[in-house]
Symmetry: C2
DNA sequence: CTGAAAGCGCTTACAG
DNA sequence: CTGAAAGCGCTTACAG
């Protein structure tokens, strides 16, 4: 009798659909409905956890689902619900970077973002982008993602107006980076200023007086700039001054750190400490110092920023600033989902922690 | 007149749909059709590059698309085409690993896989998985992905029967790992055996006689085991033998390398070289050697495997084996797409390259 | 609590 | 070369 009541489903079966199911593993909600002896609507309700479904019915549906190893088709579900259930992560790279030069810090962020997404039941779509590309239109518009997380490095000013465009077209996004007034959209970042201040204060406490800064210090790279401003502030409080000759531009790679350090050594002889704007820069700098016969920390104290996992294992171990990437990933995803749900969201600055290791402890 | 001919579209407009378009940025192919003065079918054909469309018509459609910033809805398109346009990457981790302990080598792979995917017009969905989870059913079944790339570490034997299940249920997948006979499915991997052989031969040429191996050497970890077998083969060719006391288990983290090295030092005093099964292990080992007053390479020559970007910048720079991750990513994606298209595919072993640096050059 | 039906935005035979 | 129509597999008002 049940069979007679469900003509459409029976039809599917008669036309060999069941064989299809077996072969391709593509049972539909109609097959579940047939097996459970209910309507397809009820299957859908049961699977979406609707309170309207009777407990006993729900159990029968679940049994059929298990038996056929059924999974709701995301494409159909998303299409109908006009919602993608997916967030997109755009990871920017310098145009020059090859695969192996992605900052491990971003990997760590990637891991925690992925975890945070799946905890919220969202998928994560990842795209590596050159800053120059026309990325701003790509994701949200094609309904692939409900919102975008922007992560990466590169010239901030060059992509600022793309952020404006995103805001203008109503795309939901959050970015990881410096949190400054007047920025378009929502930003989440760590407290770069206090991190820089903490490093410089620590180096001053170690008795260092001439502390070099390796990394860009301009509004093109706001995160490094904030670290620099924190460093300058700590110097000021010690009645010292940040000297332009002690600042060398570097991007966040070991190679760039090596080169910056080499050029500093060539230009200046009386520095007693180096604050590298990232751990990768610091690792390159450490190598350069060593190649030039300078000992860390006896001749030059050294500190980085990020606390990537290698920092603890270089020799000597690297003093640095820990960014809590797990928390960062969660805040990014939570903020973006609030945006998606049209709830109010604020930019947020996450605390950092100074991690002192051998590379800066002069008297050890 | 054109308006009269397109009732359905006109309807959409009358009911305020156009306002929707402006606000939500969701133009549909019907809006494009209206604007271009053609049918929606033609819009779809034009956009999918059908040869059936007149050049002039195609141009008009394109103009409308540009004007409304239209993007094809992937959910609808994929649903209709019964194809997701998406590949999934499952990255396995040890249950113990936290975010910051992901091997940079896998990041590098991730980058090149992402690039290879977008070159082929596919999206990449990423999921970090514990080996223990019920991951095998997750992706392909829910139509989120046309195929799966498996990448990661962990006990091979523990997940081998899950591979069998994947094969049994017809899921398309390729895995990165050791390429061995009798494995279920398609595997792509580097030539771990020759890599291990090359390292050991090189160390022997440097005059080393008692070469330790840091890393698992059992069928639970086939990649490390292949490296170990290569190492043992090189020793054999030099009329030496791999000694069990000189092999210490380690997983691919700096910490594990540090611990393995420490325990080797405690147990054995007369080794003159260390071959670490990965660069991370080597970096941890280098630190442990140093902490115990042993100099690299004067007292102990050291080599790793992978050539992560940090390898060049530790001090001394690390001798290692380069895996071509760019090529690896391409081969993984190409092989998977062949599988998706039901074309024949074979497992493949990619060549490696010995990279000699300071850590193993005893006479420098 | 349940079922029949409309519709999400496309693609693609089918019929000119 | 083009259009009208069916249908991909769901979700959700609507009507019991």
């Amino acid at each position: 009798m049940a069979v007679l009541r469900r003509q459409p489903t029976a039809c599917r079966l008669i036309t060999g659909f069941r064989i299809d199911v077996r072969i391709k593993g593509k049972a539909t909600s109609f097959d579940i409905a047939y097996l459970a002896g209910v309507s397809q609507s009820t299957v859908s309700r049961a699977l979406r956890g609707s309170p309207l479904v009777n407990e006993e019915t729900r159990r029968r549906v679940q049994a059929a689902v298990d038996q056929l190893n059924y999974k709701v088709d995301k494409n159909a579900s998303n299409l109908r619900r006009m919602h993608s259930g997916t967030l997109a992560l755009l990871l920017f790279e310098d145009p020059t970077a090859d695969d192996s030069h992605i900052n491990p810090f971003f990997l760590s962020m990637l891991g925690s973002i992925t975890r945070a997404c799946s905890k919220q039941g969202y998928d994560l779509l990842i795209s590596f982008q050159q800053l120059s590309h026309d990325w701003h239109a790509d994701f949200a518009d094609s309904h692939k993602a409900d919102g975008i997380i922007l992560l990466g490095y590169g010239d901030y000013l060059a992509y600022c107006d793309k952020l404006e465009k995103l805001v203008a077209q109503g795309t939901r996004f959050v970015r990881w980076g410096a949190v400054l007034p007047e920025q378009p959209g929502i930003s989440i970042g760590c407290d770069n200023f206090r991190g820089g201040e903490a490093i410089a204060s620590h180096l001053l406490e170690q008795g260092c007086k001439r502390i070099a800064f390796l990394g860009d210090a301009s509004s093109h790279y706001p995160e490094f700039f904030e670290r620099y401003r924190g460093y300058a502030e700590a110097l000021r409080q010690a009645n010292l001054q940040a000297e332009p000759t002690l600042q060398i531009n570097a991007e966040s790679t070991e190679r760039s750190g090596y080169e910056a350090m080499t050029s500093l050594i060539a230009r200046v002889s009386d520095f007693d400490a180096v604050f590298a704007a990232s751990d990768l820069i610091a690792i390159g700098a450490m190598r350069a110092l060593c190649d030039h016969g300078l000992r860390v920390p006896q001749d030059v104290a050294l500190a980085g920023f990020d606390d990537i996992s290698t920092a603890r294992f270089v020799n000597p171990a690297l003093t640095t600033v820990l960014q809590d990437t797990t928390r960062a990933g969660e805040v990014l995803v939570e903020s973006l989902l609030k945006l998606v749900r049209n709830e109010p969201v604020e930019s947020e600055i996450l605390p950092v922690k100074l991690v002192v290791r051998g590379s800066s402890q002069v008297d050890v």
